[in-house]
Amino acid sequence: MSLAGKVALVTGGSRGIGKAISLKLASQGADVIINFLRRRSVAEATANEIRAKGVKVHLVKANVGEPEEIDRMFQEIEREFGRLDIFINNAASGVAKAALELDTRGWDWTMDINARAFLLCTQRAVKLMSKGGKVIAISSLGARLVWPAYSAVGVSKAALEALTRYLAIECAPLGITVNCVAPGAVESEALKLYAGDENLNKSVWQKTPAGRMVSPEDIANLVSFLCSEQASMIVGQVIVIDGGVTLAPINF
């Protein structure tokens, strides 16, 4: 599947799942805009890997939790590229607290970055897209399952998934598809930071029927398919990628 000549924006695209997606789209020929929040040196290292694939890469530092920074990011994209073909809403953050302990600031921070940014970015992305445009949000199984201290993120991801459906129906007549990918626990730095438990990886893959954890590359492959014309009739869906763990939570 070639994405040659396409322009893709990946929010949170310099590390982890976002990096895997950025590299995958670049390997298929897409020019890639990487949004990042803090680590310019990390973003530049990813940009170098992308450049080595022979495509154009552009870095945009912006906190997608702040509407004025989203505006600035899209002004920059319009100025540099004039259009957008693929938007991957991947940037995420969150406060790790139980629901009964969650305060309004933690709620707002998490919802602004994980859910409101998807709305505001998609509104702006669609204006730069033509027929064939693709919008894909990265969710989490925590939108439907309950995990300790995951309340704010889980609720924000549930909002993201609902928003996927509404945006999909509004964008379908424009020839733009909107879909969502919901991974299980992904082998990444973020998981280690969140769980604070090096043994978590082992316990997750032992419970996964497919015999291993989901990797960032697994998610990138699915995103790549959703970016292809072969996926043009998949509209407003949340596609779970978890190695079967939610179908068989108990080992048989």
């Binding site: 929040l37 803090r38 680590r39 310019r40 040196s41 530092k61 406060v95 933690g106 921070w109």
Partner: protein
């Protein structure tokens, strides 16, 4: 930019995030001002933006208090300017 002006900018940022006028000279760390971990990450992000520098996690873990933080920011600004 002098250390005192760096401290003034950090004071302005902390006051905005904590939604109150703060005096960094009267406390040892941000937690004494009532800041939680979310406040601190927001302060770090704004300081990075304002000075166009990168504050490294491995360095931040060793910061002992506000004076140390101001000195670290000052050092990162100087390193950027020397490049």
């Amino acid at each position: 930019m002098s250390t005192s002006s760096v401290e003034a900018v950090i004071t302005e940022i902390a006051s905005k995030i904590l939604r109150k006028d703060v005096d960094l000279t009267t406390v040892n760390n941000f937690k004494e001002l009532g800041a939680d971990s979310l406040d601190i990450i927001q302060i770090i992000v704004k300081v990075e933006d304002r000075f166009d520098i990168e504050l490294l996690e491995e360095d931040l873990q060793n910061i002992k208090g506000i004076k140390d933080f101001v000195a670290y920011v000052e050092r990162r600004i100087a390193e950027k300017n020397s490049q």
